[in-house]
């Protein structure tokens, strides 16, 4: 659909910058896990950087995001400060959630990151509520909720899409179809030929797009955002992508056919994006400068996280209810 002429270079560079922030963050996590400097359950996002960057670049900072355990690409692309993110992933009191939520439960209202859930599908009904608040208050915000292909088989998906369509909510359902749900291939869990085949059952606008193509993805995202802001209701976007690593860091994924892995390498969105930018006349030095800036920011964020203190055990009595729990 979209051609490479459709996007101005500034927007493309903005998407690239966000993609690289994701790419570098994910890479750093994996490096530190490999080297043993970090220990945590980590859900890699390698391969899904560009779709998220292209989506979030279509939003304002105060638009709402709801995402999942595999959400670091969404959070970073949305604009969450790396310092706060790293501190949360390492359980430090300086983290977005004082270390209490952890990687699966990142919240940062300042950048619109409202809920990160570890329960498959659970974010969708909550996203409706955020969108409903915007509809009711007229604040013009749009809510994006990210989820996987596997999540489209759970009841909450169904209930949420029906309600959103019925109430014409300003919400975007971004299904990141990475072809696997944990160890289960798309077709072993999903009877629909494609996720968007479910949209007519909710009388909902829907579009399938190559999520690895920054231009196509961004145009689709902008259209959905415009629809939502105009009060014309929700959109289901099925962004095709691929999870290039195992479900969690270090997990075996030998169940993935070798040809699929090979094919995915060819479709790796990062080198393709670089090639596209080169074609559009961006030189290597520009890209390098972007990467270096992110690298420096990352160094600082990691250093900050590692040197930050853990929360005090008194925190167990705080934020449970509004009133502090008695010691």
């Amino acid at each position: 659909m979209a051609t490479k002429e459709d996007l101005d270079i500034e927007t493309l560079l903005e998407i690239y910058r966000r993609s690289m922030r994701v790419y570098k963050t994910d890479e750093r996590f994996r490096q530190m896990l490999t080297s043993g400097k970090l220990r945590l359950v980590y859900y890699p996002v390698r391969g899904q950087e560009v779709l998220s960057a292209a989506m979030m670049a279509a939003l304002n900072l105060d638009d709402y995001l709801v995402t999942t355990y595999r959400g670091v690409h969404d959070q970073v692309a949305k604009g969450i400060p790396l310092r706060d993110l790293w501190a949360e992933f390492t359980g430090k009191v300086t983290g977005t959630c004082k270390g209490k939520g952890g990687p699966m439960h990142i919240t940062d209202p300042a950048t619109g990151v409202m809920v990160t859930t570890g329960i498959v599908g659970a974010g969708l009904p909550i996203a409706n509520g955020l969108a409903l608040a915007s509809q009711q208050s007229g604040d013009g915000r749009v809510t994006v909720v990210c989820f996987g292909d596997g999540a489209s088989n759970i009841g909450a998906f169904h209930e949420a899409l029906n309600l959103a369509s019925l109430w014409k909510l300003p919400v975007i359902f971004l299904c990141q179809n990475n072809r696997y749900a944990e160890h289960t291939a798309y077709s072993a869990g999903t009877a629909a030929k494609q996720i968007i085949d479910r949209a007519p059952g909710y009388a909902m606008e829907a579009v399938r797009v190559d999520g690895n193509d920054p231009i196509a993805m961004h145009l689709v995202a902008c259209e959905a955002v415009a629809r939502a802001r105009a009060g014309e209701g929700p959109t289901l976007i099925e962004a095709m992508t691929y999870r290039m690593l195992g479900h969690t860091f270090g997990a075996d994924f030998s169940y993935v056919p070798a040809e699929m892995q090979e094919e995915a390498k060819q479709a790796d969105p990062i080198p393709l994006f670089r090639a596209l930018l080169a074609e559009r006349g961006i030189d290597a030095a520009t890209l390098e400068a972007i990467e270096n800036a992110i690298g420096a920011e990352l160094d600082e964020a990691v250093e900050h996280a590692l040197s930050s203190p853990y929360p005090d055990v008194d925190e167990l009595r705080i934020d449970v209810l509004k009133e502090e729990i008695a010691a």
């Binding site: 709402y64 709801v66 983290g95 977005t96 959630c97 004082k98 270390g99 209490k100 939520g101 439960h105 919240t107 940062d108 209202p109 409202m114 809920v115 859930t117 329960i119 659970a122 969708l124 009904p125 909550i126 996203a127 409706n128 509520g129 955020l130 969108a131 409903l132 608040a133 915007s134 509809q135 009711q136 208050s137 809510t143 009841g155 909450a156 169904h158 209930e159 949420a160 029906n162 309600l163 019925l166 109430w167 705080i318 934020d319 449970v320 209810l321 509004k322």
Partner: protein, 329 residues
């Protein structure tokens, strides 16, 4: 409202919702059949509200409890104070994840950056003949969930005052209504009045034994205490009002005084709310107790349909009476 000023439980709920909506445009209501185009709710608790406040704020939903609860949670995080009606308590089983894994945990998991001021209303109770899937009292489940409150009311005025406080409260609150009480009439609560959460009410003072209860059994225990007084036994009756976190001070002060306690609830006894209260009393007042704390609850079985079975299933007032007589020696 009837001529003598008495008001039904359902009407009192309606008044509370009305006052809350009038007081703050952040209050919204979601639930099945609740708008006036649908007759104002199956129990009429929301009657008139959509007409008065619009179908933007009073929204009839599809049959989709996860969607209802999720909408409430999301709107709450964004600054609203939604009241979600889950028609029957047993239907909470189709949206437990939203309530337990999300509403109750988001304040903590976000380190206090978000909070979820929702009120979830539901009805339940045995006695109507609805059978096994519409009658369970499941408050013990939610009492076991850190991050949320559980509230129940024993008469129309209490219902209004507590519901108003629940809606104002900044934490998720489950507000349980007993289906057998909807038509019950009682004194109305004065406009603007509220009843604070977390505080039990001593309905009647006494010195021999403390009866701790909540919801439907409260009025019955008031009567029983009256009877016992005639027999020379002075019973103190406590309505917990907020089941969790419960008002330990009031309970423990009372039992410290009487030295005897019975806990009565409609939920089945095993692993019920009474177990926690009984344990707390034993733990704190072991040396002061003149007898072990007694629990009276419903039988260990699904709620049966057949009317004689349904009655036999329910907690027995006779058992409360007999226990107290036995305790008194």
């Amino acid at each position: 409202m009837s001529k003598d000023g008495a008001i039904s439980f359902a009407q009192s709920i309606n008044q509370a919702l009305d006052e809350a909506m009038a007081a703050s445009d952040k209050v919204m209501i979601f639930g099945e059949d609740i708008a006036d185009a649908q007759g104002g709710g199956v129990f009429k608790a929301t009657s008139g509200l959509s007409t008065k406040y619009g179908t933007g704020r009073v929204r009839t939903t599809p049959i989709a409890e996860q969607a209802i609860m999720g909408a409430a949670i999301g709107a709450a995080i964004a600054g609203y104070r939604p009241v979600a009606e889950i028609m029957f308590m047993n239907f909470l089983t189709v949206c437990m994840d939203q309530l337990v894994n999300h509403a109750a945990k988001l304040r903590f998991m976000s380190g206090g950056k978000t909070f979820v001021p929702i009120t979830v209303r539901c009805t339940t109770g045995a006695g109507v003949g609805f059978g096994g899937q519409h009658s369970d009292m499941l408050e013990a489940w939610f009492a076991h969930v850190p991050g949320m409150k559980v509230v129940t009311a024993s008469n129309p005025a209490e219902a209004k005052g507590l519901l108003l406080s629940a809606i104002e409260d900044d934490d998720p609150t489950l507000f349980i209504e007993d289906i057998m009480m909807y038509a019950q009439k009682g004194e109305p609560l004065a406009a603007g009045e509220k009843i604070p959460l977390g505080k039990a009410r001593v309905r009647r003072e006494g010195s021999d034994v403390t009866v701790i209860t909540y919801g439907r059994p409260v009025a019955q225990m008031d009567k029983l205490a009256e009877e016992l007084a005639g027999e020379g036994i002075s019973a103190e009756v406590i309505d917990l009002r907020t089941i969790a976190p419960f008002d330990e001070d009031t309970v423990l002060n009372s039992v410290a005084k009487t030295g005897r306690a019975v806990i009565v609830h409609e939920a089945i006894k095993s692993f019920g709310v009474g177990a926690e209260i009984s344990s707390r009393i034993h733990e704190e007042l072991f040396a002061d107790l003149k007898a072990p704390v007694k629990r009276v609850g419903s039988k260990y079985c699904p709620v049966p349909f057949s009317p004689p079975l349904e009655q036999a299933f329910l907690y027995s007032q006779d058992e409360v009476y007999a226990s107290i007589r036995r305790m008194m020696g």
